[in-house]
Amino acid sequence: MEMLTNLMQGFAVALEPMNLLWCFIGVFLGTIVGILPGLGPSATVALLLPLATQMNPTAGIIMMSGIYYGAKYGGSTTSILLNVPGESASVVTCLDGFEMARNGRAGPALGIAAIASFIAGTIGVVLLMLVAPPVAEFALRFGPPEYFALMAFGLSMVVLLAGKSMLKALLSMFVGLWLATVGIDMFTDTERYTFDQIELFDGVQFVVVAIGTFAIGEVLANLGNNDKQQMFKVPKGLRNLMPNWQDIKDSRFAFLNGSLVGFFVGVLPGAGSTIASFVSYGIEKAVSKRPEKFGTGVVEGVAAPEAANNSETGGALVPLMTLGIPGSATTAILLAAFILWGLRPGPLLIQDHPEIFWGLVASMYIGNIMLLILNLPLVPAFAQILKLPGYVLYPMIMGISIIGVYSVDQRLLDTWLVAFFGLLGYLMRKVDYPAAPLILGLVLGDLMENAVRQSLMMSQGDISILYTRPLALVILVMTAAVLIGPLFRQVAAWRTKVADQEA
């Protein structure tokens, strides 16, 4: 009951005309930066930090959060249309999203991404409102051994991402794991594979590898067939540009799966939305009745990662609001904004400044509706981009990719690297190696290495710490289940085959 009163007061705050306007400005800007690859929400929130600190804290946090979750909506656009991951969490969206576009279903893919974003964004806020304090307490139980188990679980998704050959998928993943070691090692402060380049001290940027292997690789692979004018089919009629009832029905479970995975992974300060999107995609494929169709353009393969990516925002706000701990790059900037306002977010923020927390929660409900209204009409318009002939479309993808990677840190080296990874992506395509496991290895490798080394330091080298803590053990058992799952399926298939032959 108290919550209802609080929420009503929150809406009273969020519905003030000025706050509504700031909310709209936030989500509008968020949508735009989300669509542009490279420039992510954290960079945009940072750009607006000086403006926000001149505003009152409630309006400021409403606007900045609007950018944060708004950017998640737009992130899928270039993934689906151009195979250019708009941001790190949208890599998984490329897998089925771009295939849908290739099959002439770009509109439904974009539409389902917007709907998944809306549903998950809303579920994320509901969870933020209802369970923030207990979930934050639970997340604290995640220490290095639990993170190690979680990363192992994430890596096990490789068996679900593998196409025809498991061996190729594993090799691709190992290259990713190796790439993750580039940079300064935090534990000893020594340089690894940096070749004396200061630019490599922080490692190979994930966006560079993702855009290179996905977008540039795709363009290069298509340069050979220039006989056709238009590369993609774009069906006529608005009806074919929107998801149909069957699409929504197929995505029902994905909406829920993505929302829950995204939220809970988002709460953990050491994880992130990229992991959430991979895990939700993996779960979706594992429980699907048509796992063999994943990667050829199934709608739930778009819905799950997009949902995860959006409810992660609600999750990431949990530790910030309840413990004063930033759980992601963007929430770290929100924390800075609080400090510049002279507020110190800590465990008592909600109690001491209810108008900020509840105003934010209410504004997020409103903002998500605004985003849906803002994004759905754009779908048919964006889908028209694919009508462009190849000789326009491909150079455009190249341009967007190069500008995208440069805009992240303004480093020339990144443009060379994107070219290198583009060639790598091209070669991998030619010899049929999947690129997704490479990305998976790169994202998780660093986190997993840190977790295992931290764990072993905690136990003074006793490896049993990794599997004796209950929570870690549970996650490791889940990991084993994922790894063994396909074996069972193979055995079953083989047995039916044998049975058929005997009969």
Binding site: I184, M186, D202, I325, G346
Partner: protein
């Protein structure tokens, strides 16, 4: 020629008329750039933006100020960038401990702090030694005794081994003769979460952050790590009061210019920051964030730069970090 002379005379008279206001040989002609070596949201970034805001509010600078983030290479990207802008008068950077450490441990660091133009040290960020509220340790001695009784069992979370948390650990270990583990974690969020979740036993926090956690009953402060007690925590004894001689190595922040910045330009920044330092807004900023006033310029600053470099050098050596120069 005649006109020029007349103009000169007029301008000299104009100069004489406003003689009460200090006349700088340098006044900025275009926007000033405050560069930080971290991404947005990190300590130096917040500091730069706070100074930017206060200078705007107090109207001490006629031009606008932009904060630019040159993150990467653990601060080396920013240091190299500054080092290569020789003689540039419109660019200054926020320095912090890592600016002293980097040239000592990275072979490809091209500039040391004394190659650059230190302008002013502004604040010192005190640190406090914290444990979880339900921890059995009530004083620093309790913690050290437990660490001695179980060598290598106790754990502290922190950043990289050349960072400030480990610097403090080295000093505490030296003073107490105890030994405990240092667990590096990437983000500040993870480090605090590791303490609150009970995965590590001790964490070094800033007072302003600690106060919020104390109010909520999540943590306890064992000792403060400055020479004098921290005003906002008057009941908590310093580490020296508890019988352990630990030199004060607070995180220092201030501004540094490129090599060969003109003496006039340096004087201008020193003047602006001295004036800012005297305002009530600045005093409030320091108090609100529980910083300590660390204002230093001129020869005192130069002395600090060389001493701080040497202090950190000794600590890095003790920590087993490879030194390159």
């Amino acid at each position: 020629m005649k006109n020029t002379l007349r103009l000169l005379a007029v301008s000299m008279m104009a100069g004489a008329a406003v003689v009460s206001a200090p006349v700088h040989a340098f006044t900025p002609e275009r926007p000033l750039e405050f560069m930080v070596h971290t991404g947005p949201g990190a300590g130096s970034d917040v500091f730069a933006r706070a100074v930017q805001g206060l200078l705007g509010k107090t109207k001490l600078v006629s031009q606008t100020i932009q904060v630019s983030n040159k993150a990467g290479g653990g601060g080396l990207v920013a240091m190299s960038y500054l080092g290569e802008k020789k003689g540039e008068n419109h660019l200054v950077a926020v320095f912090t401990g890592v600016w002293f450490v980097n040239p000592q441990i990275r072979s490809n660091a091209k500039f040391t702090m004394s190659d650059l133009t230190p302008i002013a040290r502004l604040i010192l960020e005190p640190a406090v030694m914290t444990v979880r509220a339900d921890s059995p340790y009530k004083t620093a001695k309790d913690f050290f005794d437990a660490a001695k009784a179980n060598p290598g069992k106790l754990k502290q979370s922190g950043g990289s081994i050349s960072g400030r948390d480990n610097t403090i650990r080295q000093l505490l270990m030296k003073a107490s003769g105890a030994d405990w583990q240092f667990i590096s974690m990437k983000s500040g969020g993870e480090r605090v979460a590791a303490l609150l979740g009970g995965h590590v036993d001790m964490f070094v926090m800033e007072p302003s952050e600690a106060e919020e956690q104390i109010k909520a009953g999540k943590i306890r402060v064992l000792a403060t790590l400055m020479e004098k007690r921290i005003p906002s925590m008057p009941n908590i004894p310093t580490i020296n009061e508890q019988g352990f001689k630990v030199p004060e190595v607070p995180q220092a922040r201030g501004f540094v210019g490129p090599p060969g910045m003109s003496a006039d330009a340096k004087a201008y920044y020193v003047d602006v920051l001295t004036k800012l330092h005297a305002t009530k807004d600045w005093a409030d900023f320091i108090k609100e964030n529980r910083y300590e006033d660390g204002f230093l310029t001129g020869p005192a600053l130069d002395k600090f730069v060389s001493e701080y470099t040497q202090t950190l050098r000794g600590i890095l050596k003790d920590a087993g970090v490879k030194l390159v120069r």
